[in-house]
């Protein structure tokens, strides 16, 4: 076991929606301060896997899970795990930009305010928005509704909002799928920039994106993790025929 080097250590994880098994025996180790991408066709389980890491699947009725997910060495499915604490440690950015219908300022300060923090919010807003490469565009309209921003700006705001919770790990569920190419590029640059401080895990069905941004890539098919490893290797000479078939566009 190389637990010491893993920030997230998944061991024999099985996941069921009712009778349907969505994840089969997933075992892998994610390294800190790296970007890991998961690719695969629709319905392959990559998003489900991502959502097991901050227990967002808890919201769905009738799911069952076994196996272990260790984050910082703690099993997040242990009975004494505080889900709220877990989600503060593991932030998430969703497929569609979903800022709250309130001001930009209130969006960024949401997580700290929910933690009970009321001081130093102004500094935090500036710091976080600078980090998310949005500050210059919004610094004069922090009190304006977040819904007035463009899609790309909204997504960067959502990233800022997640960063303001001070997570160590950032999950991104197809964060660029509803954005134009320029906004996509900005988000990708931002991810590279954030890598030094955060561990980023991204789900995407854009293989070029995975190849561009990710240090490691995993390929999911029908709930199984077919292949996982260095992105260069996965995209140039994968071990598995199915991986090769998918990345060369033969199916999916």
């Amino acid at each position: 076991m190389e637990t010491a080097a893993c920030i997230i250590d998944v061991n024999k994880l099985n996941f069921y929606y009712g009778k349907f098994q969505a994840l089969k025996d997933i075992t892998l180790c994610l390294k800190p301060h790296k970007i890991t991408a998961f690719i695969g066709p629709s319905g392959c389980g990559k998003s489900t896997f991502l959502r097991t890491l901050n227990r967002m699947n808890d919201l769905i009725a009738g799911v069952r899970i076994n196996g272990k997910v260790l984050i910082d060495g703690r099993n997040i499915y242990a009975p004494d795990m505080d889900v709220v604490e877990l989600r503060r440690r593991v932030g998430m950015v969703f497929q569609r930009p979903n800022p709250f219908p309130m001001s930009i300022y209130d969006n960024v300060t949401y997580a700290p305010r929910m933690k009970g923090q009321s001081r130093g919010l102004d500094d935090l807003v500036e710091r976080t928005l600078v980090r998310a490469a949005l500050w210059d565009e919004v610094k004069d309209k922090l009190k304006v509704s977040a819904l007035s921003l463009s899609g790309g700006q909204q997504q960067r705001l959502c990233i800022a909002r997640a960063l303001a919770a001070d997570p160590g790990i950032l999950l991104m569920d197809e964060p660029c799928s509803s954005l134009d190419p320029v906004s996509t590029l900005r988000i990708e640059e931002l991810m590279q920039d954030l890598k030094s401080e955060y561990t980023i895990i991204i789900v995407t069905h854009n293989m070029q994106q995975a190849a561009r941004v990710a240090d490691y890539t995993g390929f999911f098919l029908s709930g199984e993790l077919i292949e996982f490893g260095d992105s260069n290797k996965i995209f140039t000479k994968p071990d598995d025929k199915r991986t090769e078939g998918y990345i060369t566009g033969r199916f999916g």
Binding site: M56, R161, A162
Partner: protein
């Protein structure tokens, strides 16, 4: 409604013509039904005005609006609206204070907390509550609640504004719960997920995100509930004690505007002063409920606008 395709091929031209006529007639019928409701409302209001305005030829409008005594059969008769209006407002306000927190809490429970199977079981029951005839609620209030309140608070009578408020709260609850639940349920799932993913607790998510976003829908639900309560007659007639006095406390008997009309209309001489006065109360009531419903419509409209 469409002609069969075989025939259509055979008599193409003729069928097109009849089809067009048919469409035209259906459209006109539907349009007429729509317009009729407006005509009805206007006719009702005109009828109320026609039967209430003659009062003000013999009795001053100001004395009607701010008069503090309702003595319709004394000589000279006095038709002061204030005690009746106060009765209506007190009973309505009381029922709102009871029904709104309860209703909104129940709606949030159904939309956010309850498991789907429980929600599916409770929602139809809540809507069935709306189907209980008001006279039945009146009976329950008269026979069960009134004696209980009398003993509990040591009052001379259990027929009070409070008794009416409690019974009317039962009538407003289904409306408030059902519409608020729709409002909370229709908050985009994205918001809830985003909030929880940021490490907010379930209660923080409900109170900081779900309720504010659904607020205009909840407001509309409350307004519609109030509209129902203001217009309710039978229950209040049975349980509020029917004393046309300005109440000083919620534990006193009151008489509402609706109950006054229902109780006195049978005993008045047609086209008498008293008869016109009762219609004037009806017109006031109409204006009041119209205002409440109109406000609800505006709020609801805004609520739908935001979600689009």
């Amino acid at each position: 409604m469409m002609p069969r395709s075989g025939k259509r091929r055979q008599f193409k031209g003729r069928h097109k013509l009849t089809e067009r006529w048919f469409e035209w007639i259906i459209e006109r019928i539907i349009q007429a039904s729509g317009l009729l409701t407006i005509v009805f409302i206007m006719l009702i209001f005109a009828f109320l005005l026609k039967n209430s305005l003659p009062l003000f030829k013999i009795y001053p409008l100001k004395a009607f609006l701010i008069g503090r005594d309702w003595y319709p059969i004394s000589a000279p008769a006095r038709f002061g609206l204030v005690p009746l209006l106060a009765g209506s407002l007190m009973v309505t306000l009381g029922s709102v204070i009871i029904a709104v927190p309860l209703g909104v809490a129940a709606a949030i429970y159904l939309a956010e907390v309850a498991r789907p199977s429980i929600r599916e079981a409770i929602k139809p029951v809540v809507e069935m509550l709306a189907a209980i005839p008001s006279v039945v609620l009146g009976f329950i209030g008269l026979l069960v609640l009134a004696p209980y309140i009398k003993n509990l608070l040591d009052l001379p009578t259990g027929l009070t504004a409070m008794t009416g408020s409690i019974m009317l709260a039962f009538m407003a609850l289904p409306t408030i719960i059902s519409i608020s639940e729709d409002a909370v349920s229709s908050v985009p799932r994205d918001y809830r997920e985003a909030s929880l993913a940021l490490g907010a607790t379930r209660w923080q998510t409900i109170s900081r995100i779900m309720i504010p976003v659904a607020l205009s829908g909840i407001t509309a639900a409350v307004m519609l509930g109030i509209g129902r309560v203001i217009g309710e007659t039978m229950t209040v007639l049975m349980v509020t004690g029917n004393a046309a006095l300005i109440p000083h406390s919620i534990t006193q008997p009151v008489r509402t505007m609706t109950a006054t009309i229902a109780a006195e209309m049978g005993e008045t001489v047609q086209y008498s002063e008293h008869y016109y006065a009762l219609f004037s109360i009806g017109a006031m009531l109409f204006v009041l409920t119209f205002a409440v419903n109109f406000t609800a419509e505006i709020v609801l409209h805004r609520f739908r606008g935001i979600r689009r």
